[in-house]
């Protein structure tokens, strides 16, 4: 059974298109390709590229469901040609946004979201603000003129990344059933409580900056690994 699947996959590898770009009034895919692009990806393509719509959709790309199937059929590895296709799509995004992934002055930040054929509300993982680190955050602060915002985005990234990538995807069972997200969340609540804040928005830039430091330490302590500082878009390396 497993064998057969691999053969089928190999066939479609010939077709070989794993990455579908959308943005700038164009899209490789469309709404009819839900099986391949998932519901979200197919609709993003439709909104961005259909001549009747061409709506303001932030540029991006969809990695197909075939890659997911391949990933599980091949010991959690990716098709060889995937990396090149992703680089190509990234280059297009960079051109359209005028930003560069990992750039210290004008960094491109990314959202990474799942999208199955049918919507599964809240069931799967999302990581936002990918592309932020100690260096790129300076670019964001300079651009937005809002350090508070930048550190808020950063602490969200650390929380989501630690939870989704470093803990769940790595298969780490949290001690006492309390996941890293919960631990980090409690730290946030603690600061809010001690300052008498009701809402997250009341936290100052400095408080968030301290929180980011604390988050990183905590992640290292609990998960035994640093939150990644070096950005790479090479396949297989975080």
């Amino acid at each position: 059974m497993q064998r057969k699947k691999v053969i089928i996959m190999a066939k479609s590898t010939k077709a070989g298109k794993y990455v579908y770009f959308f943005g700038g009034g164009k899209a490789d895919g469309n709404e009819s390709m839900k099986n391949l692009l998932g519901g979200k990806g197919a609709n993003l393509a439709e909104m961005a590229g259909h001549p009747n719509l061409r709506l303001p959709v932030p540029p991006g790309f969809t990695v197909t469901t075939e890659v997911c199937t391949y990933y599980y059929a091949n010991k959690r590895t990716y098709p060889k040609t995937l990396n090149g296709q992703v680089q190509e799509a990234m280059a297009k995004m960079e051109k359209l946004t005028g930003k560069k992934f990992g750039d210290e002055k004008n960094p491109l930040l990314l959202s990474v979201r799942s999208g199955a054929r049918k919507s599964m509300p809240g069931m799967m993982e999302t990581v936002l603000n990918v592309g932020l680190n100690e260096k790129t955050i300076q670019g964001i602060i300079a651009q937005s003129g809002d350090a508070r915002f930048a550190y808020d985005a950063y602490r969200r990234l650390i929380m989501m990344y630690a939870d989704v990538v470093m803990e769940k995807a790595a298969g780490i069972e949290p001690k006492g059933g309390k996941g890293i997200r919960k631990v980090l969340d409690e730290k946030l609540e603690h600061i809010k409580h001690s300052r008498g804040y009701k809402s997250d928005t009341e936290l100052t830039a400095d408080e968030l900056k301290d929180l980011v430091k604390d988050y990183k330490k905590t992640v290292k302590k609990i998960l035994g690994k640093d939150f990644p500082m070096i950005l790479t878009n090479k396949c297989g390396v975080v």
Binding site: G41, N52, P56, R113, G115, M120, V127, Y161, G236
Partner: protein, 693 residues
Amino acid sequence: MWGGVGAVFASWNGKRAIEYRRIEKIPHEWGTAVNVQAMVFGNMGDDCCTGVAFTRNPGNGENHFYGEYLVNAQGEDVVAGIRTPAPVNQYSKNAQSEQFVSLEKLMPAQYKELFTIQRRLEKHYKDMQDIEFTIEKGKLYMLQCRIGKRNGVAAVRMATEMHKEKLIDAKTAIMRVGPNQLVELLLPMLDPKAELLAPVIAKGLPAGPGGAKGRVVFSSADAVAWAAKGEKVILVREETSPEDVDGMHKAQAILTTKGGMTSHAALVARGWGKCCIVGCSDIEIHSEAKNFHSNNGLVIKEGDWISLNGTKGTVYEGSMALVDIDIDKNQSYKDLMKLVDKTKQIGVRANAETPRDATTAVKFGAEGIGLFRTEHMFYGEGSEAPLFQLRKMIVSKTEKERREALNGLFKYVKKDVKDTLSVMNGHPVTIRLLDPPLHEFVPHDKEKLKQLSKELGISMGMLNRRVLALHENNPMLGHRGVRLGISYPEITEMQVRAIFEAAAELNKAGKKAFPEIMVPVTVISHELRHQKEIVDRVYKEVCEKLGVKKIPYLYGTMIETPRAALRADFMANVADFFSFGTNDLTQMSFGFSRDDIGGFLPKYLDLKILPDDPFQTIDQEGIGQLIKAGTERGRVTKPNLKVGICGEHGGDPESVKFCHRIGMNYVSCSPFRVPIARLAAAQAALETPRKKK
């Protein structure tokens, strides 16, 4: 970034994702795609926001742009229910968001652009869209659009209104409502009279319509555990997350204190058509103490009963009565059913045996009664007198004794039949002759036995011996159905006489009675011939007695044994119609006792040895073949043979579609399932149209 992509793929096989797919029946091998997109920020200041909106109201189907947004926030904040969102426009305001400024007021230009876009999207997709948007420093971005989930009430309204607006054709309108979604329109609601008198202890947002009552639990795990013990529970949470899905599924209703109409709880409940109230900030949950406090100091503990009105968003203390709703007041429902009836090619009848059920059935659009169980009169209210006569008959020893008892029973049977025939004026009523094994009606308690012996004038010893003689080891395969009529022809005679007299009298009174006499549990055509002789004789006698030339009727049989299905060509020599009794047919063909499947069927379903419970939906591969062969063989003998189905399956959409495909004349189901069967029949006619004759 690759870490993120890998994490998304890994999450596909996460515990909660697998659980969700199990409930929603999504195949595991589909896999997921990953979307990588340039970030836009709704949290870069007060000229930024993020929101979720629907091109029409998903709660009631009204054609109004409806949505919520949060200033200076990221998208996840709206769905997570962390902050109470503000309304996008005046229409979307509710009790919790009244004081907030709408997007329309705050950012009029962007609102206008968004409004135009959502109209374009709906026009393009020709369906209600659920959209996510973000405004970053005054610039609007569209982050997602998809076909919006809606409850049954909204689904019916949107389908019929979009049809009227000429956005979609009739076919699309019919296909757009899931037959089981109609259940929500027929859902009971809290008794309005009781509701009027009861004080509202809290009010929240009406996220899932209908009424519900249950005992309060505060965790998903408790909801699962209590429900397993047969308790009706209402899950009360501050907010729900995907981890709660199992408990939410098991609960009668969901009540949350935080979150808006687009929160997780609202979204999930809407998909299931479950009663749900969200954002009910009038109550405060103390999860350690396992209780909640209402604004006016009332404390509701775990296990206490509460009642919810999910249509209004009101919460009441205690267990309130639930009542049925008047479907005729729902114009969209009536519009949809008009399209449905124009489209469907198979009749829909109801199983009913009282004038009240028959009236309900007609109201729900039944075109006749497909199963009138004569034994019904021996159960429940008002059954004492006829039941006593029946018992007398059962323990009779001689034909003389039996005829006497049958004479006593006659008037009850005749009245029962006549009442229902009268309500169904002109529509056919299939009356099944006495079916259950006789000993089912024998009293077991001493007092009742004593009374019986006294009235019969026989000793207790004698009575006991007669009762004992009725005992069977396997009554479902025992002395029942037509076998009774063969052993005791006078039982058939009495019933047939009652039917003919009732029909003839109604006809004489200017009504139209159309009885169909149905012989149960047959295996061979000789049984039908044997009974037909009685029917023919009694027919003549009644015609003479009442001075009528004819009484329109049909004579037929239930096909519920595999042998009868296989020998259908011979059965059709005598029968004018077949009605497949799929409960017994399934039971006898599988060799599964319907009353004992609890012991093994769950495991069968778990291991996917069987795809579905064959008593819920027709096993098309096996039982379906018997039904198909029976129908075809019967029609070889009698091309115009009327064929229907009267088991529980008659109200299951997939089974109805099957019956349509194999060319049946009608399906029959419980009165409340009639609208569902009609819609399923129309959808079947669109999916696989029959050639017009």
